[in-house]
């Protein structure tokens, strides 16, 4: 049992860290694990070593444009699950909602930088999405 559990817990750690931008609490990791079990998704994602060690590399690996519906890839649907679980926790809510207390100009500046980064990384994501299809 622990042998089956560990890869899923590692996956939870990676995806929740990616979505939250910080290390997730152990409660969130367990909740992700239980959620996958409840959905009958027992198999861990075959994450390659680099993103499994450095969650930020998922910025390049996250598939382009297939988040919902039957065409969603396994990785994007797991990221979606991690997102919902992260948001429905005080840790995630502080990250996703309390940020709005920063001055508007600062928030918009940060957002502009993030969007700029998105445009830079987009060709890499597109290439990796096609390669992994």
């Amino acid at each position: 049992m622990p042998g089956e559990k560990r890869p899923l817990l590692c996956e939870a750690q990676v995806l929740l860290s990616y979505v939250l931008g910080q290390a997730p609490g152990s409660v969130l990791i367990c909740r992700y694990f239980r959620a996958l079990r409840a959905q009958g998704q027992d198999c861990p994602l075959p994450l390659s070593l680099p993103p499994a060690r450095w969650a930020f590399l998922l910025y390049a690996f996250e598939p382009v444009g297939r988040n919902l519906g039957p065409r969603a890839t396994a990785l994007s649907s797991r990221i979606r699950i991690a997102s919902v679980i992260a948001e429905s926790s005080t840790q995630g809510a502080r990250k996703f909602y309390a940020d709005s207390r920063l001055p508007r100009s600062v928030r918009l500046f940060i957002l502009t930088l993030k969007l700029l980064f998105e445009f830079l990384i987009f060709p890499v994501r597109l290439a990796l999405t096609r390669w992994m299809r």
Partner: protein, 536 residues
Amino acid sequence: MSAQADVLIVGSGPAGVSAAWPLVQAGLKVIMLDQGREGSGPPLPDDALMSVRLNDEGQWRYFIGEDFHGLAARKRETPKMKVPGFRFVLEGFEQAYSIRATGMLTTGSLAKGGTSRMWGAGAYPYTTIDLKGFPFGLEDLDESYQSVMARIGISGCGNDDLALSLGALYPLQPPLAMHENAKRLLERYEAKRCAGSLAGIRLGVARNAVLTRDLADRKACSLTNMCLWGCPRNSIYSADQELSALTRTGNFQYIDHAFVQDISSGYEGLCAHCTDICGDHRQTLNFTAKTIILAAGAIGSTILALKTLRHFSQSVPLICHPALALAMCIPERIGRPLAESNFALGQLAYQVEDFEQAENFSFGVIFTAEGLPVSSLAAYMPFTRPCSFSLAQALMPSMLIANCYFPGSFSACHIEVTPQGQVLVGGGYSSDFEARARKTNRRVQHFFRSLGAFPLPGSLQRATLGSDGHFAGSFPMRKFPSVGETSIDGEVHGMPGLFIADGAVLPHLSAKHPTLTIMANADRISKSIAKRMLGT
């Protein structure tokens, strides 16, 4: 087990409850039969959404559910369908009636209170133009609108530009406090209207079956922004709230775990045969009465009526609302703080006139995005998830979501019961719908742009047919009914004593939300039944 009553009502939704009141008030003994499913989740806190999000460690139980129901990745359904607290409302309906649906969703409920347990609370009365094709006029429905609206409490504005198309003289509670985005939109609209530069689209305050003043056991809305997840104050009307008041009258009995499988006629009148389809004991219960009113939702009532009439393998038309949804943004509001208090259901309503056929207008409701989870918005964005979260978070205070309903004449659906008891439902659109949807979408987008709300690229979505649960037209009321139709009073042709009081008897579905009209019509039908039974 068997029991007798003057009238049996099948179903406890808005139509059933509205049908019960006039009968009970006339002194008739009424038994309401219902499966009566209830939810089992934790009770929602009466706290602001933001406070729950930031402080409540157990919030995942309300937002995802202990069974993780909220994680389902379904597209093109309403956000409420993913709310764990409402899972029980729609659960088991298709299995109970053995429904196989293609091309549409057959939204229905076995819950106590029916689909009103999770409705959007839009309450828009029909006017003369909406009643075109009905075998009676507004004057026959007016008194029922008055009594239903006074009973359930509708908040709204009686003197805006939409008032004429929503009935200006009905009793209304004061409107709910508006979100900044809705306020801006309405102010700009008023300015443009005074300049006479808007033609063909009218905007006004939404009318909701939501209290702004306490009414009986229900409390006024406290703007916690939790509307999507449920309402612990019962400010949002749902039919189950009225069952205890009905029971207190003394001549009303609510029987749950009684799913009506079949109706037969005999010497003593009509007999409803029920079983508990969700419980362990599958004991059959029989209830006899001279009159049975079907109010099990348009699909449930249609199935029961077709079975009772033994009309098997005959395809019956079913009308529903085609609908679109569009997200918009008011640029100067991007990145502003989220509102501290808000009402998350309809803020504004608009009507798009049809210059060729007046009754073919489209109708929509505008919501804010602030009650929605950020992750649900982020899922539609093409960026990486962390960036989509940041963008959704910045856009949320500036966003408005408008849905747009088209008249039921643009749908082409049907329902059929096989001799084996299987129910086949098929959905589709009329041949002219695509052109009409494109034209209306262009007009609506232009209208909102002119008011400073810009549609977000790629946000236009077509709702799955039937996902709103508005069904009608399968047993239409006619002045001179024939097979498969009902009389003006909702009596099924060929089965004396069997009445239908829900959406199934509406001959036409205007683009407005039909629930209030279904309730008023049930009240009208029931008053006529009471008169007939008491010989007055």
